[in-house]
Symmetry: D2
Subunit: 356 residues, 4 copies
């Protein structure tokens, strides 16, 4: 898809950790052009570069550093807004923008489980985008991105569920500190340590997975009916969530069938050559020491999910390891890919002038 000119977009909550990642990733995006950054009342009116506590490894782009922060309320001179808002405020603000006709692509958890809101992983459930047709927002819409740990899980599960049927899923996560936002974890809490608890995370992984891998029927998502158990831990890693997954399937299969299911996976974003779609959504490693956060989190510019160590599980059927970049694939990058899919499917056209 070639656009005549780039689409202007805004980032809500641009000073936080996810907001910064949106800024980084959109700085040179071929379709989207950042024209507005917002922040809380306290910071609105200040210059972005002087307000943000920048912790990204790439330098803050100069033109965006100069931008004056706006409050997180309509109107903004765009049709598409990315929301990196805190859950404490995201719900109402996003609803407000949608009501005013904006297309909101959100990384916040607030609207994720609402029946008419797509909880979108573009490679996994692109058809769920149709749910926006049931939203009460006219030309506006809300599209959400799952929790960072859920995304890494559902991608390799999708082709297995489709072919063999998932019966049971057991997942233990080792999550990076960047997932906790800014300031997030104090260095004194996580250095030389593991924290075996992340508030609300296990419930999110368990419920979101069932929606994402659920089936769209009659305009509604019927939740997947597998059992799923999540245990979530914070470890001393900057970026990249590692997950130890065990599964039981409805069919008896070989490891070769599972590997074949992964390698044959050809999702819509790759077919459409969306700008943020990695060449491979899933990459499998034979080397038993792989994948590792530091070596593989940036594969596919952070959008590829790495998988390794497939082997039989003496309790369920199979077990394997998953790694995904939590602030790229699991947050800002995932939202951008969702917006690309929505754009490619014409969702923005629909609302251009209201006559679609």
């Amino acid at each position: 898809m070639h656009l005549k000119r780039r689409i202007p977009v805004a980032i809500l909550g641009a000073t936080g950790s996810v907001g910064q990642k949106f800024v980084s990733l959109l700085a040179e995006h071929p379709w989207f052009h950042v024209v507005a950054l917002t922040a809380s009342e306290r910071s609105a009116g200040k210059v972005y570069g002087q307000t943000v506590r920048w912790v990204q490894e790439s330098p803050l782009p100069g033109d965006l550093a100069q931008m004056v922060l706006q409050p997180s309320t309509p109107p903004l001179d765009v049709r598409l807004v990315f929301s990196a808002l805190d859950a404490g405020v995201a719900g109402d603000i996003e609803t407000h923008f949608a009501q005013e006709g904006y297309v909101v692509v959100s990384n916040a958890r607030n609207h994720r489980m609402e029946p008419d809101v797509p909880l979108l992983v573009p490679e996994v459930n692109p058809d769920h985008l149709a749910l926006v047709g049931r939203q009460p927002y006219g030309h506006g819409a809300i599209i959400t991105n799952p929790n960072c740990s859920t995304i890494g899980l559902v991608l390799p599960l999708k082709p297995l569920h489709e072919r063999f049927g998932l019966k049971q899923i057991h997942v233990v996560t080792m999550q990076a500190v960047s997932g906790a936002g800014l300031p997030g974890l104090s260095s004194m809490e996580i250095s030389d340590n593991v924290i075996p608890y992340i508030h609300g995370e296990e419930a999110k992984m368990e419920s979101e997975s069932k929606k994402i891998l659920g089936t769209l029927k009659g305009g509604q998502v019927e939740l997947a009916d597998f059992d799923i158990s999540a245990q979530c831990n914070r470890v001393h890693v900057l970026d990249g969530h590692t997950e130890c997954v065990s599964i039981a399937l409805h069919e008896s299969v070989t490891d070769q069938q599972i590997l074949e299911a992964w390698s044959a996976f050809e999702p819509e974003p790759q077919g459409r050559l969306l700008p943020s779609a990695p060449k491979s959504a899933i990459e499998y490693f034979d080397e038993p020491m792989h994948p590792q956060p530091r070596l593989h989190r940036n594969l596919g510019a952070g959008m590829t999910v790495s998988v390794g160590r497939l082997r039989p599980c003496p309790v369920l059927d199979w077990k394997f390891v998953v790694l995904s970049h939590n602030t790229v694939r699991g947050a800002a990058g995932g939202s951008i890919l969702a917006a690309e899919l929505a754009t490619a499917r014409g969702l923005l056209d629909r609302s251009d002038g209201g006559s679609a």
Copy 2:
């Protein structure tokens, strides 16, 4: 038990990570007195303090620093030897010492799964010590300590297995770097990283647990018959293995029954007031953020196993988190406690002069 004078002991392989921990823990032991340290041919004859790459947080005790390293072969002027040897050489050397009449308490894996060798966790299977009666070593004996990650697992499982019967166990570990020995992991490998593989570790956890929780019948250990699946990871923690455990039981029980099983657990080492037995072998935490390696690994001088986050598992029955100090409880400290139990049960007397 009061000893008239301390028992002289030797440490085989005193320069490595586990060897150093033996040195630290035995420096002021009320029963045992270190009179010999051994090392490889290459280091024998050198002064310990000038040879060891000391990485313990407590300073190297002055008198031991002056000791000249001996080769790892009999004779040594002791009856009891602790083995911190590498698995590459431990097997033959330990057999040799046992044949010459020494009581060897070993942290190496070589003899662990032999049918006549106790794989001892003193709180869990003290009766297995009787296996030494079947060994072909006369007054000599070999007693082994399980793998560091196994010990933390079997302690809280013991009272549950005894009362309710374990059917299935699923465990994912997050293991400290000190478990990899010295030099072990390069800083470049584990900083900002997780390594989702530890060579041989998963098989060891699965097989050793069945032996330790097995039943002594007719002088032999009948392996426990539960299913067990282990996934082992290395994380950036200096000391302390954290484990996410899910279990299915033969009986349907409440969380209160499980907590009661743990709090009522009264093992033999605590009853005998062995010097290295912590007041509580198992300590349960209500706070959901606990246990954590940095906060709890040193509980009970590193010998208490901390447990937390008991809650239902949607796939198996219950899940919880376990933390134990891998080089104390999981290695040197565990061996010392085993030696204390053996001493208290008279195993050293048996071989004093041979007339016992």
Copy 3:
């Protein structure tokens, strides 16, 4: 000195990082007995154990965990208060307590440079305690503790200044994250990183050193007249500040003379056997890899300052490395030692009813 009964004390600002360290260190103090903990208005009235974000490696003492937090204002049922307050509020609160007749021993920076306030390192300038006689507080008093990085520096400098006269001092620090308080540095800021700036720290080191090593004359401190240049960095260490020091002396001396000056150093707290005085205030290491934070910060229960690598400096005269525990010797422990000195010198008697 033997006390008939322990002296009741309070800790102002008990929930922060330094406050927690006071709680840890005073939990089993032979002279002092904590009977009150205070916090900000927001936390007053809450139970300490449920309010504090405890990050100490030793568990929170049970009886103090149950204590109800009081607001940081008089009256408190004690004579001696330790202040771990933030500099933002410490100044006025401490003055208020002193005016009401309390003896305040403070770790905050607010009053440090006032001419009538002792900036006390008990081994270095115990005579400066006499300054309290000039304070306008009647039986009340304010005694302060220097900045954490200053304390490690002035201890080994003291005997050199006394014997040979310091002309120039150049110091570069590598400071632990615990010095930044709680939450302090985000894990994302300091992991895999160095931050070459600590707000206000260099000026504090430069000015405080001149006061501490200054001379009490006519009831006033005459500042030391050396030149001093400090560069302060934050590194990824939990506890323990390392400092690279270069000095020029007024006299030409040998390394042996310097080592002799350190080993012959016999300060008042050690002479009085104060409970928190380490056996050696300064310990020198010959091994060139030493001292190191993880190996030596806990020497002398965290109160010994470790020194190593004395060698000629091609630019000034001599250079060496210093290590001290920043939250023990450099904060709470240093304050407690100061309070012990004040107690031993009868400062608390003076104010007991006024009839002393």
Copy 4:
């Protein structure tokens, strides 16, 4: 400069840490094409990808992964060899290659201080390349790269020395673990720690700086005559050496004059648009928290040296902070830039067939 076809090159010692970095950086180099990788006898004959313990963040390039390792001896089918050999063997092997007519660009320390060997930092002393004319190797040559910590220092010193004359230099380094090679430092040695000693490093910084900033006169380098004192520390950072520098100058200057000297610095590699020359060799930051390893080490693809915090020094004249990427600018990248300069100046032509 446009080449008709890429120049074939070899990497000696390709499995180590610096060797891996050469592999990464040369994988897509516009001028050079890697056709041979060498290793020790023990590894020669093995496939590179199966032998190397790869720790780079970018994946190992596929074609190089397949390459069979050759022994580190002539002949190799190239004219230009990069040496990442250990100092233990580098000296003789490099001499041997030079004698056989190869141009050796080495990162090893062995030949650095020899009078006829250029110790090259292409922005600082490109004229020193002429020293090869005095070497006894015919068409062969040895060019060396300074120690990783020296390079970061001499770059910002160069324009100051040129304009104002350096009288005294005092530098304290905080060096990354990647500088220690592989396996290098054990995670247990450096996590939560600082090691205040790096064997031989201080002497190297002191002597190499005088050679690099020395003057080529009559075909020889006259050493610079400033005093220099270095203190070298290892900190827990993966890549990027930070240095706290204080200097005294022969002239009295303002901070503006120093900043102007840095911003006006226009060295030869940038003028020639060498492929590895960063746009700015030196970049100055006004923000007092900058530069930091994690934020700035990759500036200019790791070839820019970042500088910040210029301010008066109460002991010498001025002080500032320097950061440079130790394995890129300070090792492999620096060697490649040196080879590019040598190529651009025709050094390879000279030896092509001997008729030059």
